[in-house]
Structure formats: C-alpha cells, structure tokens
C-alpha cells in the first residue's frame, strides 16, 4: 500500500541509485577508543558514518560513541583551518594573513635556523599531544626534532595522566587489560573511573559482567554516568582515595585475606630493610652476593622444599616464628611483634635466622625457600650491628596506625564503615576481582601515594595477571605499545626529550633530576601539534611563557583557542583525510586510517610538512622522509617488535588485525605465569631503562631512595590531598574537580554543533546544601574563584555531587564560558621531589595537580 518513500530518510527519493563508496577507517582522537568506521562517500563528500563492526572477535562489535558519530561535524566545520596563516597583528589579536605553503615553510625554516644558530637547537621545543594517536604523522615530527637536535616535550607526565604511582611500584607508567577481559571479573571496582562516559566502546564489558552476576563498585564523589551501573557507590571525600585503599589493606590483613605466595614472589615485601639507613639490606652486606642483590630471611619452619599454596596459616606461622608469642596466630600481632631486640630469634636463643640472597633477575629463590615476612633481625655489617626487618613487617606496623582504622577511614572518607567493609570483602572474596583506576585518582600532587596504596591492595591479595583480575590504570593514548623508535629516532639519535613541566615552570625545580637537560638560554620557539595547551592547561603560566617565546607554530585542523595565539598556523587534515597507523593502549587491534576524502582545503599531512621543512632546513635530511606514508606504516610494523610481527599494511587495508597478544591480554600475565621479573618494557625506551627505579625486579612497596625517606613516603602512606597547599590556598572551602565530559574528547568537539545541541552551556555541578548557603539556584550565573583567577558559568544544582565539591567538565574553551577560562583557578606548576628522583620521559617524571585547587563560588547578578 504505502511505502516509505513518503517519509524522511536517506535515499528515500526516486531516481537513480547514487554512486556511493564505502571506506573503512579508524577514528583516533585522544580517547583510546580506536573505533573502526565505515564512511559512505558520495562525490568526495562523507554523507554517512556507521560503525565498521568488523572486528574478528564479535564481542568488540560495534565500537563507536556519540563523538565519533558526529565526526562529520568536525570534518566539515566552518572553523577548519584552510591555508597556512601568518600572524599579521599582535598575538591573539586575530589578524592573519593567508599564505601559501612555500612562504609558510620558508618562514618556519628561516626562523628555526635563526633560533638554532642563536640559542642552540634545543631551544626549539616540539610538543604533540598524545603521540599514540599519530605514530606516523606525529612520529614524523619527532623524527625531524631528532634530526634538528631540538627539544621534544612529553605530555603524558605533564598532563598528569600518569602519576608515577604505577611507575614507582611496577616500573612502568601504566598497564591495562583489554576490555573484553573485564567481563571475566566477579567484582569490578571502578576507582575514579567514569568508564560508561569516557570509554564508551569498551563500557559494555562492565555492564555484561554485571548482567552475568558480577558486582560493580564505583568510587567517585559524583554520581557520574558510571554510577548508573553501580551496585555499590562510594562517594568519598575528594582526595581521600589513598586512605580508603590503605584502610582496605588493613582490613585485608586483619581478615587473613592475603595471598602470601604472591607477596613472597612478586613483591619486595619479604626483602629486609635496614632500620639504621632505611635502605634495603644488600646481599653484599652479608657476603651473600653482589650489591645489586638483596636479602630475605628464611622461614625456619618451612626452610626448604616447594612453596606451599598460600593461606593465612602460613602467615600465622611466620608471625609465631618471630614474635615467639603464644597467641600470635591472631593477625593483630603482625604489628605487635616488632620490638627489635626482644623479638630477634637470634638473641632470643632460637634457631639462628638463615639469610638468603635475592636476585632481581629471578623471582623464585633458588632452592624454593619459603621466606619470612615478619620479624626483626640483627645482622653485622662491618663491625656494626644493624637491625633489619622485612618490608612487610614495617608495612603492617605502619597500617596499625590509628588513622587506618576502619572508623577513622570511614570518618575521613565520608563513607559508611559498612560499605568499606563490604568493599574489602567483595574485593578479597568475590574473585576474580578487577580494579580499574581512572582519572579521578590522578592529577593530584599526592596521587602517586594513592595509586601505590591501591596497587598494594592488589598485591596483598594476589590480584594481578588473570583475566578479570588485575589492577589497571587508564593508560591513555600516550602509552606506546610497540617499538616505534626506529621511525622516531633515526640513526639511534634522540631529541632532547624533556617533560613539558620544565617548559612551563617559572624556575628550575630545586630537585630536578640531573638527566633533564634544559637549554642554557631557555626555550625560544614552540612547535605544537594537535594540542590545545593554552586553554586546557596552566592558562596563567602560559601567558607568561608566551612572552619569552620568539616564535610559536601551531599545527591543527581546527581554529582553536590555542592556534589563535600562535605566530604561524599550519593546517593539517583531520583523521579522516590521511594515513595513520593506530595501535592504541587498551585495544588489542592494529588498524589504519586511510583518507576517506582528500585533505580539505590546502591542508597537508604532518608527514608532508616535516618532509618539506626538513628539506629546507638541511637538504640532506630530505632522504629521511623519502618514503610514502603507507611505506612508513609498513616500516613501523616491521620494526615494531614481537607485538606487530607479521602484520602488514596489506592486511590492515582489509580490516583490523589483532596484535600478537594472548587472548585476553592481561597485564603482567606472562610475568606472573612464568615468573619473569618486572618491569615490562616501556616503549620507546630501551630494554632495561627502567631497571634503575625498580632495582628489585619486583613490585616495590618500600622505596629506599633518600627522597622517599625524607618525604616520609617509603611505604604507601596517606597524606591529605591538600597538605601541600599554602595556608592561603587552603582557605577556600570547596574542592574543584574537572572530570572529562561526555560531549568532548578533552577540548576536541567543544565547537561541534551537534554536541552543543545536546550540551547547551557550561555548568558547574554543586550540591543543594552548598548552593543554598550561597543563595545559588539552579541555572544562576555563578563565579568560581581563588587566589589565582576567576571565571563565570552557570550553576547546575544537583544531588549527584558530594557537598563540599564542585565539578566543571574539562575542555571548555573560554568563549563558551560567561567569563574567563576554567583553568584560571589552577594551582601554579609545582612538582613533587620524589617524582624527580629518576627521569625517564613519560615513564618516570613528575605528575600534575589539576584537581588540587580549592575554590569558592558565588552568585553573579
């Protein structure tokens, strides 16, 4: 009767079938999603997008989200950069002269040559956010920076996306399971991780696990989107994550929920620590080995033979051994057993303790010795008697402090004690149990402590290395998964890799690691690509830094609030208009971007830009770029190491190819199954580069370095999140959070009108109790301020946020706020000395404190 011809819809009209091509590509903004898309192209225009849904493992189909779905609105945005732009007026004035590529690149080359000659090439700093989104294109920039001998600033550390807790403990910046492994978990703890909102293509595995009976615990001061799936929502006081974790650790110990085998094998907790120096006892001190080796003490009751399966009886035996006390089976005695001299079995007349050397090269002791976790022993080093104790004994003593008692933890975190106990029970007993740490825990001065504490929780219960049982931390797209160094670092050279911190900091930090090389005459040119640093980071600091920069070059596809402040703007294509190899952190597939449409306007790929720039800087360098972008992909795959072995461009053109990974891919699984010492290699650094900060080859919960000891952070400890603030900074009564928005990937998509249609203006979430005491009503215009700045937006009075905390979605450009920039109120750059103990760019480097400012809010009429 009636057909659909009369209703609106695509191709609904009569007429010839339009000529449409379908092209498979992958979107890769900084979201780690790496979703495959099928674009319908008619007359060189994208007219439709659908998820490609062609992953060989059907569990991954489809991968998409609202941001990818509205990508066409970015591709065809009127604010796309069309031609190279040369600044005509003052910086930020908005006066530009359109230029041809030759003119722009000649100018750029001349400037670089001049600055390099005057101040040295290191004074030119290259910065490209999330290099993992552009192994080919952004890699080309690193390649040129290497040739030039320029500085290359990393963003991962500067952004605070990692906060060194993982590095300090596991020796690598971050590790994640592939998302399908989440579905195996019986207990899923989403710790400050808003997965349903920030990782939409992967979130279904959380919900499917729950559908199959798993318990989902969400730890977040806001009832964010993910709390939709929460069986247990723990809205803790912002910044008290570390205390909660240590409180849970104490409950785990008290309840005998320990995996002693794991603790003995994979952590440094059995290793003896000297109480006089606070350093670890070395094997060479006792003549048991070299100074690179460590010492543990053998449990005399089970001296040899295969290690028994772990249970709490073992622990009781250990404590009896050392404490020599009748009721020592009581786990509370773990900490009481430690008066050094009295409890020393050697002096108490028992069997003398047998010390064994522990090599960082091997996790198992040679004769299968069962080492003791408790006790206090006296050894002679030289002529001095020195008291030594296993780190575990120190730790359990530390956890006996009153502040880690359940009642106190409940009071400080603002959570019901019953919920905390329930969480401990779920995590320890309802296994496999998975912890996913998200951004909510990071971005704080003391978040490394929090993450060390959460990792401790995992280690005590053996919560690593199995599908659905791991402690993952959001790795982001900075995390490099395969060896890209042959492409990035030609001839084995490296640029002067520094952390962006040191560009931004007004003065050299007093504890800066000696490996950080700052140009003698400061930084004079900034080349940034696909970064909105002037808006999404320290806006106040950047204002000052820009004055010292002679030349600022921006590469982007969109006019952003940062390109507006540059001297030269180079138009790049979007992800949909160029070749790229996408191998993103948590996703197990390699995919390629291929141009769905030709680059719009005058835009040129970054690879082309770098090639042309290289030629202008030094004709000999052109040969380093003498291959096509597709050939670069093949080159990267061929040299990427075991993970990409055998994968070719030709295969990727047909669709996604799974990397050479176990299925499911779970971090540390191989290390644990085959007892391979930690850490796994952090690309693009060389094998062994991480050895210096993980000397034991095990998870380190005792940090012996002086900086840690001076800070009182040798053991995972709790420090108030705001304790590093000055009294003036602390006067403001509200915590300030800037979580990721549903409608953006950082600030990408902020000007996407489709998404603006759903998210009409920036709001600050505020609890009714905080709002009413300040006469703020829903929808009022409000000002948020502190010592450093102020900005205005609109109030969203909501019960879904904890009293005492404000939340403004991250990524807004100033033009959408009522006044100011939301990053106005950030604390100035300050780095934590322990995080400068070593330096390995983007692996061991200072974190960030975006979430630490205290603010106040008032209504504006």
């Amino acid at each position: 009767m009636v057909t659909a011809r009369r209703v609106p819809g695509r191709f609904a009209d009569d007429g010839p079938e339009p000529d449409i091509r379908y092209i498979r590509t992958v979107d890769s903004p900084n979201c780690t999603g790496a979703c495959g898309w099928l674009a319908a192209v008619q007359d060189g225009t994208i007219i439709d997008l659908k998820p490609a849904a062609d992953y060989p493992d059907p569990a991954y189909n489809p991968r998409c989200c609202l941001r990818g779905m509205s990508a066409t609105s970015l591709i065809y945005h009127p604010d796309r950069l069309k031609t190279p732009l040369i600044r005509a007026g003052e910086r930020g004035e908005g006066k530009w002269r359109e230029a041809g590529w030759d003119e722009a690149l000649d100018l750029l080359a001349a400037k670089f040559k001049q600055i390099a000659a005057q101040y040295g090439p290191e004074s030119i700093v290259f910065f490209n956010q999330v290099i993992g989104t552009g192994n080919v294109q952004k890699g080309a920039q690193v390649r040129l920076a290497t040739l030039l001998g320029a500085s290359y600033a990393t963003g991962y550390d500067y952004n605070g996306d990692i906060s060194m807790g993982y590095t300090e403990t596991v020796g690598i910046d971050s590790l994640e399971s592939e998302s399908s492994a989440w579905a195996e978990a019986k207990t899923l703890i989403l710790w400050g991780a808003n997965i349903l909102q920030t990782r939409m293509p992967d979130a279904k595995f959380v919900l499917k696990a729950q559908e199959n009976g798993s318990r989902v615990v969400v730890i977040d001061p806001r009832a964010a989107q993910t709390s939709k799936a929460a069986d247990l929502w723990l809205p803790l006081v912002p910044g008290t994550d570390g205390l909660l974790a240590l409180g849970l650790c104490r409950l785990i110990i008290e309840n005998h929920w320990l995996d002693l085998d794991f603790i003995r094998t994979f952590t440094d907790l059995p290793l003896l620590v000297r109480l006089d120096t606070g350093e670890r006892l070395r094997a060479s001190d006792l003549g048991l080995g070299t100074s690179d080796e460590f010492v543990a003490v053998v449990d005399p009751t089970q001296s040899a033979g295969p290690v028994n399966s772990a249970d709490s009886a073992n622990l009781a035996a250990n404590s009896a051994d050392s404490a020599d006390s009748a009721d020592s089976a009581n786990p509370a005695n773990l900490a009481n057993s430690t008066n050094p001299d009295e409890n020393n079995p050697a002096t108490a007349g028992g069997t003398p303790p047998r010390f064994v050397g522990v090599s960082p090269q091997s996790l198992r002791l040679e004769d299968g010795t069962q080492v003791s976790l408790q006790g206090s022993y006296t050894v002679r080093i030289g002529s001095q008697p020195v008291t030594v104790r296993p780190a575990f004994a120190l730790l359990s003593e530390h956890l006996q402090e009153e502040r880690y008692a359940l009642d106190n933890v409940a009071r400080e975190t603002g959570l019901p004690a019953g919920d905390i106990a329930e969480l401990a029970r779920l995590y320890a007993q309802n296994r496999p149990a998975q912890i996913i740490i998200g951004m909510g825990v990071n971005h704080r001065f003391h978040s490394d402590l929090a993450i060390r504490s959460i990792l401790l929780l995992g280690a005590l219960t053996g919560g690593f290395g199995k599908p659905g049982q791991s402690v993952d931390i959001y790795s982001g797209q900075h995390h490099v998964r395969f060896d890209i160094s042959p492409w990035w670092y030609p001839d084995g050279h490296r640029p002067n890799v520094i952390s962006m911190h040191y560009v931004v900091m007004p003065e050299k930090s007093p504890t800066m690691n000696a490996k950080v090389h700052l140009p003698r005459q400061g930084f004079h040119a900034l080349f940034f690509s696909h970064a909105n640093i002037f808006t999404t980071s320290h806006v106040n600091e950047w204002q000052r830094i820009r004055e010292n920069l002679d030349f600022i070059v921006a590469v982007d596809f969109m006019k952003t609030s940062s390109t507006e402040l540059a001297d030269l703007v180079l138009p790049a294509p979007t992800f949909w208009e160029k070749y790229e190899l996408v191998v993103t952190g948590p996703h197990p597939y390699a995919q390629i971007q291929q141009p769905v449409i030709p680059p719009r306007f005058e835009s040129k790929s970054e690879f082309w830009m770098m090639k042309e720039l290289a030629r202008r800087l030094n004709p000999e360098w052109e040969s380093y770029f003498n291959l096509s972008e597709e050939e670069v992909i093949d080159y990267l795959l061929a040299n990427g190491g075991p993970i990409s072995k055998g994968i070719t461009l030709a295969a990727l053109k047909k669709g996604p190819v799974r990397l050479n990974l176990p299925n499911p891919d779970v971090p540390l699984a191989e290390n644990i199954a085959n007892q391979i010492p930690l850490p796994p290699r952090a690309y693009p650094h060389q094998e062994g580069a991480q050895r210096e900060f993980l000397k034991t080859g095990r998870m380190e919960f005792y940090k012996e370095e002086k900086s840690f000891r001076e800070a009182g952070e040798s053991l995972p400890t709790y420090k108030n999140a705001y304790s590093h603030l000055t009294a003036e900074e602390r006067k403001f009564s509200l915590a300030f959070m800037t979580p990721h928005a549903k409608w953006r990937v950082h600030s990408t998509h902020v000007n996407n009108p489709w998404l603006q249609n759903l998210n009409r203006r920036p709001v600050v979430e505020i609890n009714p109790s905080d709002a009413s005491s300040r006469q703020i009503k829903d929808g009022d215009k409000v000002e948020i301020f502190n010592l450093y700045g102020r900005f205005q937006l609109w109030a969203r009075v909501t019960e879904s946020i904890r009293p005492g905390a404000l939340s403004v979605d991250h990524g807004w450009w100033g033009r959408y706020l009522a006044r100011g920039e939301y990053n106005n109120v950030l604390l100035p750059e300050r780095v934590k000395p322990v995080q400068e103990t070593y330096f390995l760019p983007a692996v061991y480097a200072p974190g960030q404190l975006w979430k630490d400012p205290r603010v106040e809010i008032r209504r504006v009429d």
Partner: protein, 309 residues
C-alpha cells in the same frame, strides 16, 4: 492550565446549546417554562416526549464527549504542565487560545497554508455545516409557533445553501476516500467513512424535509423531519467515534501546540529550552516518573531530569 479546557468546554457548550435549541425551543408566549418543539411532529411524537428524548440524547452525547476529552487530556499531558504554563500569564495564554481557535481552526489557516484545494473542500463542509446548524437553530429559536417561516426566509436560504455546500464538499471527500489509497491509514478508515456517510445522510434528509414541507407540503414532512433529527442525534452521539471528533479535538490540540511553543520561546522554564528537543519537558518528566515506577515501585523519591552535562 484551565484556559484551554475552559475554552474547549465553552465551545462544546455553545455547540450543544445550538443542538438543543435546534431540537427544542422555549415557548415564552405561554409563560410556562415547559419546552416545546417548533414543529408538531404528529400524534405519536408529543412535544414532551421529544423534549425528554432530546435531553437524554444530549446528556449521553455530553458524557461521551467528556470521556473523550478526558482521554485526550491525559494523553496530551496538559495537566502536568499547569504550573509551567501559568508562568506565561493570562494575556499570553488568551492570545494563543484565540489564535488557535479562530485562526488555525475556524479560519482553517493551517489547511490553507499547505493546499488551497484542500482548504476549499474543507471550507465547503465546515462552513456548510455551520450554516446548517445556525439556520436550524435560528429556526428553532425564532419559530416558536407552529407556523414555520417561509421557504424564502433568509436563515432558511442560508441553511439550504450550507447543506448544498456540505453535500458538494462531502462528495469530493467521498470520491477521495474511494479513490485515494492513502486515505486508509490502517486504523480509522471505517470511522472516517462513517462520518462522511452519516453527515451525507443527515444533510440529504434535511433537504428531504425541505422538499416534503415546501415542495409537496404533505404530512409526511413531519416523519422525514423526525428522521433528520434522529440522524442529527446519531451524528452527535457518535462524535467521539467518527471523524467528527477532529472538529473539536484539533482545536484543542492546536491550543496546546501554541502554548508549548510560547513556553519554549519565553524561556520562563529553562528546562523547556534546555532539553535537546525543546518543548516537551512535562512529557519527559512523566516518562521519567513512569520509569521510576517500573524500577522501584516502593520508592517515593522524585526522579529529576538532567539535560546536561
């Protein structure tokens, strides 16, 4: 909001007053408050009986109509919107109602906007129908004695012209219903046909009355008139079940449409403009409450809507 309901009820009231007047008329000359029909219908239809039947039919029809509007009131969610609409102020509301009733509905502006041809056919029926009711009512009101006005009495001419126009319009409609496959929406086709047929018969029977009364001048005229009146009663009794309903339902819904549009434009209630598709906040709230009921029947807490973030 009370205004659109009042307006609709008043409209219904006026129509029923016309209907009632057409059936019965006061007999002020005799002083007594008894009602009497304008026309002597013969020995087996005493004026008192006709009065009673008319009153019963009128009440039943009214009950049907009220039930009908009760359902539409619930569907439209107007009651949920009362407090929001109140912020518009009386003048704004009145303006919207008048525009919806007079412009959109009576003047058929919304039909004219799209198609003049359609507007013409629609007008033929609507205005024809209005002329007929008006003339019948006038005749009933003014014709308190047994002597009917002459054939050339102007209201009667108007009525007959109205009937003619209605017949022409209905014929075109019937042809369309017959020929156009798209007229069958799979749901209301028979009800639509029923109305056209019923109105057609009623009108024809009206002409038959005129013919028998003035052309033949035979006593049969009274019986034919009775039949005409019965058809009229049937038309009104079946109001909620035939296409007839749209003559009142559409104005009612158009009032709501206008009011909602005003509410969005006024920005008095931010939620009405903030939602992705503005103007349906009250309905969204109802869905939220319904989901809440599904998820947790015991819970009394209110489900608040957040449009963003």
């Amino acid at each position: 909001m009370i205004w659109p309901i009042l307006a609709t009820i008043v409209t219904i009231g006026v129509l029923f007053f016309i209907l009632a007047s057409a059936l019965v008329s006061a007999t002020p000359l005799h002083g007594a408050p008894t009602l009497g029909t304008a026309i002597n219908l013969g020995q087996w239809a005493k004026p008192e009986r006709v009065d009673l039947s008319a009153a019963i039919i009128g009440l039943i029809a009214l009950a049907f109509v009220l039930r009908f509007f009760g359902r539409w009131l619930r569907l439209s969610g107007l009651a949920l919107e009362r407090d929001y609409l109140r912020t518009l102020g009386g003048r704004r509301i009145l303006r919207d109602i008048v525009r919806a009733l007079l412009g959109d509905s009576l003047a058929l502006a919304s039909v004219l906007k799209r198609s003049k041809k359609r507007w013409l056919v629609h007008s033929l029926v609507l205005y024809g129908f209005l002329l007929m009711t008006l003339s019948t009512s006038l005749a009933a009101l003014l014709n308190y004695a047994d002597a009917p006005h002459g054939f050339w009495w102007p209201p009667r001419i108007a009525g007959n012209l109205g009937g003619l126009s209605t017949l022409i319009g209905l014929s075109i409609m019937a042809w369309r219903l017959w020929r156009d496959p798209y007229e069958n929406n799979g749901k209301t086709y028979r009800a639509d046909l029923a109305f056209v047929i019923l109105l057609y018969l009623t009108t024809l029977m009206g002409f038959a009355t005129e013919y028998t009364m003035y052309g033949l001048n035979v006593p049969l005229a009274h019986d034919v008139f009775l039949l005409h009146m019965l058809l009229v009663s049937l038309l009104f009794l079946t109001f909620p079940f035939t296409r007839f309903s749209h003559s009142l339902l559409t104005p009612f819904l158009l009032i709501i449409t206008r009011l909602n549009r005003s509410l969005v434009n006024s920005r008095n209630i931010p939620a009405f403009a903030e939602e992705p598709a503005p103007g349906r906040h009250h309905k969204t709230e109802r869905l939220a409450a319904d989901l809440q009921k599904q998820l947790d029947p015991q819970r009394t807490s209110h489900a608040g809507i957040r449009y963003f973030p």
